[in-house]
């Protein structure tokens, strides 16, 4: 069976891969590009740990047909650092101890980034809404909410 050629921007870099029909973006990123930051959690759209930004919008890579990102820009957690420097959200997650097992963290960070990119000063309710598609089984969400609020206010102090 013929594979389909696919070109897109991955964290600002042009990439070209060949995909089988029906391949989802999560598999394409992990297995064909080698970007392991988006995780598989359900394949159903329920956990958000595979979240990526497509043209700046939050999407679930496991429910995205890889071919649909042709010519578009895909941003993953692997791309949010500024060189060796952590993104303010990454710093805030660390400062607020907002990760335990760490498996939901990539998706949480992308969901939070999608929020702050559009709304740099969100309310707590807006933060709650922004991460509502992401499941965390460890933290009870409170430190994650605090981390996003801390990153938004630019401060590092605990909320």
């Amino acid at each position: 069976m013929a594979k389909t050629a696919l070109q897109f921007q991955h964290n600002g870099r042009d990439v070209a891969i060949f995909v089988d029909g029906g391949t989802n973006l999560l598999v394409a990123l992990r297995e064909l590009i080698g970007d392991m930051t988006p995780k598989f959690g359900c394949g159903q759209g329920g956990c958000g740990t595979c979240s990526v930004l497509i043209d700046g919008e939050l999407h679930l890579s496991c429910l995205t047909l890889a071919e649909m990102v042709a010519g578009r820009s895909v941003e993953t957690l692997d791309g949010i650092k500024d060189g060796p420097n952590l993104h303010p959200l990454q710093r805030a997650f660390a400062d607020n101890f907002a990760a335990q097992c760490g498996y939901c963290t990539p998706g949480m960070l992308m969901a939070a980034k999608a929020l702050l990119d559009r709304n740099p000063q969100p309310s707590r309710a807006e933060v709650v809404e922004a991460i509502s598609g992401n499941i965390c089984r460890c933290t009870g969400y409170e430190p994650i909410i605090n981390a996003v609020l801390a990153a938004a206010s630019g401060g590092r102090a605990r909320a």
Binding site: V128, C138, T139, E142
Partner: protein, 340 residues
Amino acid sequence: MTRHRGRGIASVNYPIGMNLGGDPSQALVHSNPSGKFTVALSSIDLGQGMKSVTRQICAETLGVPVEDVYVDTADSDTGPHCMGSFASRGTHRVGNAVMAAAREARGVMMEAAAEELEVNAADLETDGRGNIHVKGAPHRSISTKDVAIAAQFKQGKTISGRGIFLVPLSDVDPETGEMSPATCYAHACLVAEVEVDDETGEVDMVRMDSAYELGRALNPRLVEQQLVGGAWMGVSHALYETPEPYYPEPVHGPRDFVEYLMPGPGDICPHDIAVLERPAPDGPFGAKGPGEMCANPVLPAVANAIFNAVGVRIDDLPITPEKVLRAIKAQGGARPQPRR
């Protein structure tokens, strides 16, 4: 429509480590020639902080800064045997094994330092900042790095240590159940406040106040992670979760995170926590283990709070709106109890 508030409490204890003991864990600690230490374990970090807490235990025991220690977990070729990460045994069992290994390694390190400083090892102490000096004479000092280099290249010593911790297996009397289940216990008491809608049976969490006694909070931030996340899981168990909603009838089992109910970020409530420390005689620096017991008091505290709010006892988990509503209807309406 009326919403009623109520408060309920529960107090619990929890045994630390595998029941009856017989669950050993081992650790290996060694230094590289720069005086940096590696802890080799086969224990698992599944988010509870195994790597971090054993790192602090090792650093404290060696007398070096935490930055000088790195914990490598879960490689069956390099990490010695460990029963596994369960039964609240990580901090207690693995922590003790790491302590034993670090103590042995520290002994060699102090001997090597003594040889370099030409003093008796018993007269030396660590400053916790990477130096070893003569007690009462801080100027007669050598860095752990220089000790490591000397041990490796001059003295031919390995700065390393082996540790194991084993609580011997207890017998169980089949007739009376006489046994030694655990060597120490953590404790907790939690107050839950809820609001119950008497027309729909919906229960909202209002707040929680709690006290947890954990022997020693080796790292208060990690303890907080467990207690906050664990209480969330307790609420989840109390009000939401089940893979068999019609148990024991095996029907309508959830298949995804929409059907499997767990509180979302909009369902959480403030939780004020106090941590008490009554050191366990056999815990590493007195520590017990907060990981498992943190959820337990929440379930009954929530059930008891619902009774206080509307006067119904739900003895069947999870306490769904349906069960609350059925019980309210069966008693002819909400019967709020005296406000506590």
